[in-house]
């Protein structure tokens, strides 16, 4: 029996990261993965919640897991790394702290989900999906560095996914899709995340370090699995170049966009036109044809 996954898109995938939403769905379709969006989902609260109220930061994700359970689904997939981390953290903290569990039960007015499991698309697609036989397009010109960012693997006690300091799941997945990935030292470095709107200089410095390393190992593209990472690496790249007098021209892709391209999905169906740093030069035949 095939599992149907409850799909929690989160706010970014409905706006700034809509390319991740469309490309994730396209890859699911190609690989025969069944997903159903959680009806009536709400924001997970992300950093503003956990920085200001522990209860709120747990109640919001749990509300969504309750909704998934009501749909009869116990496997939840959350593509946004921040949503993924908040959902996993909520499950972990409720397990660890019976007192807070009781309070959350009262706040949500329902019993908390007991057997819900949350996965990222990296985990989902790595679990026996036949990626190699779905490949129809040659992407051998690409030299990609996989940027996992912070929250997919940290803290390992909560996330329990891949190797926290040196993950390989995205490298393996893109490798099975015929895409060359390069080793580099910034896999799990931080891009500054939500400081983008408030402490922009920090983000510009951290992303510059990432671009420098990507260039140094000979990459011509960066693959990400987080809408915040993508926003910082893509929409602010021109600012970084201006501030530091550098020229990077490094397109950032959601790893699902690269998989979609390898599976022969047209570029416009994967949201490539929404990127600030264009991939036209890198993939001329695909983007223009």
């Amino acid at each position: 029996m095939t599992v149907t996954y409850a799909y929690y898109p989160g706010c970014s995938l409905h706006s700034t990261g809509s390319e991740y939403d469309v490309s994730f769905k396209a890859v699911c379709e190609k690989l025969g993965v069944e997903i159903q969006e959680i009806k009536g989902w709400v924001c997970c609260g992300t950093s503003p919640a956990h920085c200001t109220s522990r209860l709120l930061s747990l109640a919001l994700p749990l509300q969504n897991l309750c909704l998934a359970e009501k749909m009869g689904l116990t496997e939840v997939v959350a593509p946004c790394a921040s949503c993924f981390a908040r959902l996993k953290t909520a499950i972990h903290e409720v397990d660890e702290d019976p007192e807070v569990e009781g309070q959350l039960r009262d706040i949500l007015g329902t019993s908390l989900p007991k057997s819900v499991n949350v996965v990222s698309p990296l985990e989902l697609f790595s679990n026996g999906a036949d990626v190699a036989s779905a490949v129809t397009r040659d992407l051998s010109g690409l030299k990609v560095v996989c940027y996992y960012g912070c929250l997919l693997t940290r803290p390992p006690k909560v996330m329990q996914f891949d190797e926290c300091e040196y993950p390989m799941s995205m490298d393996r997945l893109l490798g099975s899709a015929g895409i060359e990935t390069l080793d580099w030292s910034c896999k799990t470095d931080c891009c500054g995340g939500a400081l983008s709107l408030t402490e922009t200089d920090v983000v510009l410095k951290l992303t510059r370090d990432i671009f420098e390393e990507a260039k140094a190992v000979g990459a011509n593209a960066i693959a990400v699995a987080c809408p915040l990472c993508h926003a910082n690496l893509d929409t602010r790249q021109a600012e970084v170049e201006q501030k530091y007098g550098a020229q990077y021209g490094l397109p950032s892709f959601y790893f699902t966009q690269l998989m979609g391209l390898a599976f022969g999905v047209p570029a416009d169906k994967l949201g490539l036109h929404k990127h600030f740093v264009s991939a036209d030069g890198l993939l001329p035949d695909i983007c223009k044809g």
């Binding site: 706010c11 200001t52 709120l56 509300q63 949500l108 912070c150 931080c190 402490e199 920090v202 600030f276």
Partner: protein, 190 residues
Amino acid sequence: MAELSPTILSQSGLAEAVFKESGQNVNLCYQCRKCAAGCPISYAMDYKPAQLIHAIRLGMDDLVFGSKTVWLCASCETCTTRCPQEVDVAKVMDAVKIIALRQGVKPAIPRVASFYRAALANIKKCGRMFELGMIVGLKLRTFEFFKDAGLGMKMMKKGKLKVVPSLGGAWTTWKIFRRVKRFEKKNRNS
């Protein structure tokens, strides 16, 4: 109320408040400074994470609440991951912010606190983050009207910012926010 570990004989009020808020015992820290070494933002902090932890142990409230460190924390969880004593340093950072806001201490970087407030007000009212509305809310709080204006325009043109919020979950979040507030008040008084 959470019980303190029996190994702690005496500790600062701030360390105790952090423990009550987060369950984290800063007295376990032996100053190896792995948190400071791994922190991607420590270059910009006035006190490194290890120094802040030490100041909490010593009960140096003014230093801790006057420091930019917790407001610069990006919650990347590197410190938490690497601490050999399993102190969840990122959670301590959150706890200090929560305590500061509750006590009405002026945040050392007010615009970060403004961002949290703008975002939460938005989630409460809309159910899901309506990014354009949140950004307007942030600008009304910080008066930085022209910051990132060009970037925002370009994102609109690319269809990366929604112009109309989806209010489907608004009633749910409004209810959750209200109940959380009630529980927090009760917890404070207990």
